[in-house]
């Protein structure tokens, strides 16, 4: 996959648990797990905005493009 989700790294940096982030963002832990594992097909701008707000970061801190 060309787009890498670095949510785990950001969570570790902010010392936040997945469960807490899911609660703040307003998504289920199952969906957050799908996002973290890279199985997600797409991410809504509203979800990305909420994650960035909760983790106080930029979208580029979470999503990274890697050439195959």
């Amino acid at each position: 996959m060309a787009i890498i989700v670095n949510l785990d790294v950001m969570l570790a940096k902010r010392k936040m648990k997945s469960k807490d982030l899911a609660e703040i963002v307003g998504i289920t832990t199952a969906n957050l797990s799908i996002l973290k594992s890279g199985k997600a097909k797409a991410i809504r701008f509203s979800t990305l905005e909420a994650i960035c707000k909760a983790l106080d970061c930029q979208p580029s801190d979470i999503l990274e493009y890697v050439e195959n």
């Binding site: 969906n31 799908i34 199985k39 997600a40 097909k41 797409a42 991410i43 809504r44």
Partner: protein
């Protein structure tokens, strides 16, 4: 979903009736013809004529049964599921196969039919071909719907 359930019940009823009809036809027409080797000089297939017609009927019942199964999976697993797609695809192919076999039968036995019977049977066969193609398109709709559903579910 009410209409789907109604269609399912109707199909179950029609399929049971047709299976009974096939049974009756087999017992009263096919088996006696084969055992007595009854000669139908006016028919191309001779004593196998009823066997051929019953086989065609069995083919269309198989297709109808596949549609019934497809609808059953729609009721059970929702509109977009791979099992329904597979069943409708198979039903479509069976219907097209039936229609082509029926057309072949009409061509082979052309001499024994009246012109209006040939025209009516041919039109019916073409309608069944259209129905088969319709089922194949419907199977494609289910497939694409399934992909869209999956993508929607995996959009966070």
């Amino acid at each position: 979903m009410k209409k789907v359930k109604l269609l399912y019940r109707l199909l179950v009823f029609i399929n049971i009736l047709t299976i009974i009809l096939i049974g009756v036809q087999t017992v009263f027409l096919v088996i006696p013809d084969l055992f007595r080797a009854k000669a139908y000089e006016e028919n191309v297939f001779g004593s196998f004529n009823h066997l051929v017609l019953t086989s065609l009927l069995a083919l269309i019942v198989t297709g109808s049964f596949k549609i019934q199964q497809g609808i059953h999976y729609i009721i059970k697993d929702g509109f977009f599921n791979p099992k329904s797609e597979m069943k409708f695809n198979l039903a479509g192919k069976i219907f097209i196969g039936f229609a082509l076999s029926r057309l072949l039968y009409i061509i082979i036995t052309m001499g024994t039919f009246k012109l209006n019977e040939i025209i009516n049977d041919s039109i019916l066969a073409f309608v069944v071909v259209l129905l088969g193609i319709g089922l194949l398109i419907f199977a494609d709709f289910i497939k694409n719907g399934g992909i869209l559903k999956e993508e929607n579910e995996l959009t966070i």
